[in-house]
């Protein structure tokens, strides 16, 4: 990071990685960090020292991403680690998630805020059970962009047909799950092919390298089609001589745009008013959009407090006390029917009861097991929850932020379960005409 162009990197991409053990994920991440010159001399020296003390030849780039002592001792990754790097075009936040079967919750955690997921497969093994799990999680979490990195191409003699076969099989599977976009890239993380630099061994591949794709994938959404949502975090009332009557509703816009003059409704009370002003951290604006943190001023003095949701009057979600959702259970203690919990949605936390667990989902083959009785750590299932108060929930497919919730154990505060309101998977997109493609996008 040395040029002035690199200093003006303007947008931010949050992405996640997933791969089975030995697919070379740590090497890929190490390679991205190393080849984008985000690894600094002292970090590299530390890796070289550690590699040497383990009797390894040359620096093991995987060590760059092993954080905790327990992980180094066991040679595994037990938790989501966040990495940061930048290029001339973009700043990246990478949620590096381990691939072990028992750590579904980490993949779910990493994917929850990601706009893109890189799924690794070993070119020699192709699409395996784990790959299907990773694709299913990306689909469940509605990650907008999926990259399939077919790694270790050097070990299959850089054969186009090996790559094409895997890419086709994966894309067919992901499309069936409703993944809107898959980009397949043949790479060798170890040799550096198509990670940062284009490969000299795969003339047949005309698409982008992994880094090129990360740099160019669109990060903004079509906000015109999003429902505007502002969960109220805090009411700002200075009550000073200078601002005796100021009353502002502070929050981060969870979806869509708000404009001065918009008729809005406050939920769950249902009271209506208009946006009188929008303040973006000290700067008055006419329009504000997600994910800006703003303070809204309203025309009428109505009773609003933390936990309320401000929405456009013409586009208000229904409020409900009965929520049906797909959940990933993340705690060690199980979730059972009848469990009394707290449910946090947006900025509101309410009491709730788990009324039913209609099914548990096996990610490997997407089979449903009816009435499992309970969900244990890393289980994905369907639950029905009854809340003590009505909540304005969206479907997760429409709004990742206002369609999601967590369940909390009221006795010890443990985060039990991550929930996504509505149907598990999107219906597959109609097949698009890809005759104008110049790369390996399926």
């Amino acid at each position: 990071m040395t040029t002035t162009a690199e200093l003006s990197a303007t947008t931010l991409l949050r992405f996640a990685t997933a791969g089975s053990v030995d697919d070379g994920k740590s090497t890929l991440v190490g390679r991205l960090l190393h080849d984008s010159k985000s690894v600094l001399t002292d970090q590299l020296e530390a890796v070289e020292r550690a590699s040497a003390s383990r009797g390894q030849e040359g620096p093991d780039l995987a060590l760059l991403t092993d954080g905790l002592r327990a992980e180094r001792e066991q040679g595994i990754t037990i938790d989501v680690a966040y990495r940061y790097f930048a290029t001339a075009k973009r700043r990246f936040i990478l949620a590096d998630t381990p691939g072990h079967v028992q750590y579904t919750r980490n993949m779910v955690t990493g994917a929850s805020t990601a706009e893109l997921t890189v799924i690794l497969v070993d070119a020699r093994n192709g699409v395996v059970e784990q790959t299907r799990r990773h694709a299913a999680i990306a689909a469940l979490l509605r990650v907008p962009h999926v990259v399939l990195a077919v790694n270790k191409m050097d070990l299959v003699a850089y054969e186009e047909k090996v790559f094409a076969g895997i890419a086709e099989e994966f894309t067919a599977y992901a499309t069936e799950l409703g993944v809107p976009e898959v980009t397949a890239i043949p790479i060798s993380a170890l040799a550096g092919d198509n990670v940062v630099e284009p490969s000299a061994h795969m003339d047949w591949y005309g698409g982008p390298t992994v880094l090129e794709h990360l740099e160019t994938v669109p990060v903004s959404h079509d906000l015109a089609h999003c429902h505007a949502r502002l969960p109220v975090q805090y009411v700002i009332r200075p009550q000073t001589a200078e601002h005796p009557d100021y009353r502002g509703y502070a929050g981060q816009i969870a979806a869509g745009t708000f404009r001065v003059g918009d008729p809005v409704t406050v939920l769950p009370s249902g009271r209506a008013t208009k946006v009188a002003g929008i303040d973006v951290l000290g700067r008055p604006v006419d329009v504000a959009y997600t994910p800006q943190s703003v303070t809204l001023l309203l025309e009428d003095d109505i009773d609003i407090s933390r936990g309320d949701l401000i929405v456009p009057s013409k586009d208000a979600p229904a409020t409900t006390q009965d929520i049906e959702a797909t959940v990933c259970h993340v705690a060690d203690q199980p979730l059972t029917v009848g469990h009394r919990v707290l449910l946090k949605h947006g900025t509101r936390t309410v009491k709730a009861i788990v009324k039913d667990i209609p099914s548990r989902l096996t990610l490997d083959d997407l089979s449903l097991h009816p009435h499992p009785g309970q969900l244990v750590a890393n289980d994905i299932g369907r639950v029905k929850v009854r809340t003590a108060e009505p909540l304005p929930v969206d479907s997760y497919a429409d709004s990742r932020r206002t369609g999601s919730f967590i369940l909390i154990d009221p006795s010890d505060g443990t985060t039990l379960t991550a929930g996504m309101v509505g149907e598990s998977f999107a219906s597959p997109e109609p097949v698009k005409d890809d005759s104008e493609d110049d790369g390996w996008d399926f």
Binding site: Y82, I236, R401
Partner: protein
Amino acid sequence: MTTTVRAVSEGTGTPYTLSHLDALESEAVHIFREVAGEFERPVILFSGGKDSIVMLHLALKAFAPAAVPFSLLHVDTGHNFPEVIEYRDRTVAEHNLRLHVASVQDYIDRGVLKERSDGTRNPLQTVPLTETIQSEKFDAVFGGGRRDEEKARAKERVFSLRDEFSQWDPRRQRPELWQLYNGRHAPGEHVRVFPLSNWTELDVWQYIARERIELPEIYFAHERDVFRRAGMWLTAGEWGGPKEGETVERRLIRYRTVGDMSCTGAVDSDAVTLEQVITEIAASRLTERGATRADDKLSEAAMEDRKREGYF
């Protein structure tokens, strides 16, 4: 499709795309407001270092035009740079804030803590910090820690649960999904909150430049009497340096981090403006901790061990 993607994302994208600094700022403000909404007695750890200064700036913006609903806590090692203490007191007065000071020197004077043989007081901060959190009943404690600083920090949560001894147990940390932070804690426990989790050193400096935030002078190049220890320039002073065999010389230096004088190293620099500092950092091939913190060089897990014990 790759062609189409490139065409769409040319330049900075649509008018509805935030710059990376705006996105990071918005995220940090959201975190401050969540804590204000859910906790009884939050406090900001304020050392007068650049990260805590940026935290305070964000907190001021998050609640304007009202006052910041938190007080400040400084763990004073007794080996502070005078320029930093002066900055701290001036800032507290300017914004009419309440400052708590936990003094390592008091603990040494009372015989509760013992001076270490290497003269470093950084690890000694944990006990005064923990006891002040307990005695003042603080339930949320904002720290300026960033995940890019160190690899044990890379696995830190934004809301990091601590037991009544302030201990960090990586296996007890709660998964953080979407922007749904879980701040539930038992009486006596508290939550460390890191609003700058996703910022890098360069982001912090770019933000300081963009917002024209004033910093203590020691962050800019100046002449100072220093001596070499463990590959770093340490400032000469009463705290225990230089020892025999270490020679003092006058050099043009600046600080990349601000901590206890006994273990915070300076770097050779002629950067006197923010722009020059940013250019220098962008070109640096060393991390800020690698360049300036003696205590992190002790072992592969030095930070992990300090964090477990309740360090920042």
